[in-house]
Amino acid sequence: MIDNIIIGKYVPGSTVIHRMDPRAKLLTIFLYVFIVFFANNGITYFLLGLFTFIIILLTKLPFSFLWNGLKPVIWIVGFTFLLHILVTKEGDMLFRFGFFSIYEEGLRQGFFISLRFIFLIFMTTTLTLTTTPIEITDGMESLLKPFKKFKLPVHELALMMSISLRFIPTLLEETEKILKAQMARGVDFTSGPVKERIKAIVPLLVPLFISAFKRAEELATAMEARGYRGSEGRTKIRQLKWGAIDSIMMASILLLSIILLLLRA
């Protein structure tokens, strides 16, 4: 009943990209998401592709990992490609078969839009393949620090994210335990009429949620006993370090943005 989950998509490594500061990676991705929409002709798409390709090469990851990131959305890409080809009727006609005809402009648009989407997926997949969720959380906390002035609970959010990440495996184990315990008592999750099967979820969920409340109480007491009092004066075991490579990356993505702005049609 419980799916085999991939334990994190992160692939350990020690390449330049792996060692980059998560803050620099996050900023790069943030800018990239905007500049992808600047590209609107052959040369700008080529430059964007080249940049993406270099980053992928630097991670030294096998292409199959990136392909796995693309797989869930590939049908959308195919669907929009077809839609563009079939609906757009501008430019020269390239091909005709009865009602079915393909125009140059439709093909061009469909190709570019699909490419834009594939670039976006590749870039963001590279981030998650080379950075652990905990690193990203730390990076986000550090980047969002200025927003604390506007009453955004940055530190609290980051802490809750870390606790949540830490407890997913624990609670999953607990779920399996409850599942087995209830099966031993005769609850049948996999056969019988649909109504009965849905009803069988009740004896799984009630203990699961109640145990979550208990666990929360214990954890909160443990934190209070150790003197947790928010972000003030708290030291960190994981320190973020901004190095030369991070500055180089920021400079190159800024340069790319300027070039794309100048060259776009």
Binding site: V73, S164, T190, F209, A212, A220, M223
Partner: protein, 187 residues
Amino acid sequence: MKIKSMVLIALFAALTAIGGFIKIPIPYVPFTLQIVSVYLAGCLLGPKLGMLSQLVYVLIGLAGAPVFAEGGGPSYIFKPTFGYLLGFVLGAYVNGWLIKRFQLVKTFSIFLANFACLLVVYLLGCLWLYGAMKFIFDKSLTIAQTLLFGFVIPIPGDIFLCILCSIIAAQILPRTNFLIHKQGVAS
């Protein structure tokens, strides 16, 4: 924010992720229990904490933990289905607000609150679907198409779970000391 509230938010975010991993084997339309935690977060934690728990869930997914239906990572924002996840955040708030404001305890009245939450989830889901197709893929769907793909096809399983969760919430509510009806929990 109290430490206990923070821990509860974190654990409910984890429970939402776990709900997504549990599949109910029903022929033809196997569905997951993901939305259960959205209903229950609103019911049991109240509007503010319920909403935060879903926000934390969405954030850890975006940070790359594979907790969404198809993995995780920031690329999820570009998926036409990301709106449902945003709907979880707002839906939990609406659900909790209704239950707290009207002091709901009966199964049927909790069901109505859950149903309102479901509608909010689907409203945001459809809006995002429409927007993503229009702005990311440069092709707009018609309103009828958006409603068909984004509402009519996926909703039946979630209505089942909606009824189920009202039963569960009515059972759990009296067993916890954290009744959102009491004051001082959601601070």
